[in-house]
Amino acid sequence: MARSVVSEIKRDHIHKLIADGHRVDGRAWDEFRNISIQTNVVETAEGSSRVKIGNTEVIVGVKMTVGEPFSDTPNRGVLTTNAELIPMASPNFESGPPDENSIELARVVDRGIRESQMIDLEKLCVEPGKKVWINFVDIYVLDFDGNLFDACSLGAVAAIKSAIVPASAHGLGEDYPMPITCTPISVTAVQIENSILVDPSLDEEMVAAARLTVTTDDNGDLRAMQKGLRGALTVEQIKTIIDTSRRLGSEIRKLVG
């Protein structure tokens, strides 16, 4: 994300380690940092989660209300995903409306959820063309140490899975769990000096040439991808990352339950 100036010394250090097949924190190239997932952390939300990947920490809430559907999908609930890179999380984040980084982040997370059809939006229709459930998935980054795409995606998925549709508060019968069809998992890797590293830390992101995020569903099929940063990837590198994403995705999926 924010490209603050990294000292040449640090850059050289990371490059040298990678050339020797090592990472700064000693992980294998396809190894995630420690992942922790808590759900139901905020009781004013219909669903919520607090996720840490290493020192990157996010909190995600799902708020649901009843509103009008879009005219071209009259019998489907509405999903809105927003990400806030609040200045608490990094010396390089600033207050203000979403910038291109938080917009890209929110849209990539959104696509993973939307394109996998994780939420069965047709089950969130109250009265076709008139009333449907509107889902606000709001992501706040609390501490930023790299790989926001995966942390936010995981947080959103965990928060959605924990959500209870507040039907009774709207006079629409009993509350029921959010209708879920699958669990999309995003895995991000970067290319540095032609090495591929999964779950980049902030230091690694800052020297990376290119990034690829791959979101897979329970079958290991592709649901969303996003290449980022100002460098290139070969088709072979892309295929390596896709294979790794499918493999690691199925492991991480177990953590979400």
Partner: protein, 274 residues
């Protein structure tokens, strides 16, 4: 304030709906040093309020025209996250949060030795994760601990609490239900040691006598909160200095690789005897 509601919020034994006495605080929990990037941070729970505070600075002041050549400026941003309240709040500042941010900035300015860091900014970020009445007080309480955790020299830590009135009775530390149906709200922040009041607002209806009682209650409660703040900093200090092995992940911050000569982070510094 909802005004003179008929809703019964205190029973015949003087016990409130959540079981508290009229001059009793909600359970309060404070943890210092909970974030990695921030120079200082704190997490506070007061009843069902959950608040996070982070401090960055002293650092270069942006925009430049806000720099003060004589001292640091304190810039606080109080924010409620969108899902911290029953109806989703649109992200971004509203008029209420702009006012609260201003008042907390002013209150903290008094206790920080801002003259030590001319031209810089000390930025305080308060995020309300879950709200249940009294979030500005919980936020200020957290911010003061985060400032100390950041090693910023301060006159003293600042506790904050609201006193209110429900069912014609002055009560301490309103919860959400009491706030909704109450008759007055009086948030204060002060330095318990000197009796100096740094933040005070009031709305509703208080006679002069009720105000005097409310202040008395508030001053006493601030002293209690102050002890919890100091306790959190003592625990944090112990961890940072390796006196505890309970939470091995809470190490002192990494030194930046390019500045190997930097001193280890100061322990929280205060003018009073600790």
């Amino acid at each position: 304030m909802g005004g003179n509601s008929d809703m019964k919020l205190i029973d015949e034994n003087g016990i409130r709906t959540d079981g508290r006495k009229v001059d009793e605080l909600r359970p309060i929990k404070i943890e210092a040093g909970v974030l990695k990037n921030a120079d200082g941070s704190a997490y506070v729970e007061v009843g069902k309020n959950k608040v996070l505070a982070a401090v960055y600075g002293p650092r270069e002041c942006h925009p430049r025209h806000m720099q003060n050549p004589a001292k640091a400026i304190i810039q606080c941003r109080y924010n409620m996250i969108s899902f911290s309240v029953s109806d989703r709040k649109r992200p971004g500042p509203d008029r209420r949060s702009v006012e609260i941010s201003k008042l907390i900035s002013e209150a903290l300015d008094y206790v920080v030795f801002t003259e030590n860091y001319p031209r810089t900014s000390i930025d305080v970020y308060i995020e309300v994760l879950q709200a249940n009445a009294g979030t500005r007080c919980a936020g200020l309480t957290a911010a003061a601990v985060a400032l100390a955790d950041a090693g910023i020299p301060m006159r003293d830590i600042v506790p904050s609490v609201a006193v209110g009135k429900v069912n014609d009775t002055v009560v301490l530390d309103l919860n959400k239900e009491e706030d909704n149906y109450g008759q007055a709200d009086l948030p204060i922040a002060m330095i318990p040691r000197t009796g100096e009041v740094l933040l005070m607002q009031m709305d509703g209806h208080l006679t002069k006598a009720e105000f005097d009682l409310a202040m008395e209650m508030g001053v006493k409660a601030c002293k209690e909160i102050y002890e919890v703040q100091k306790d959190a900093l003592r625990r944090r200090y112990a961890i940072v200095n390796g006196e505890s092995e309970e939470e091995p992940m809470e190490e002192p911050k990494d030194e930046p690789m390019e500045e190997p000569m930097e001193e280890p982070k100061d322990e929280p510094e205060m003018t009073e005897e600790d």
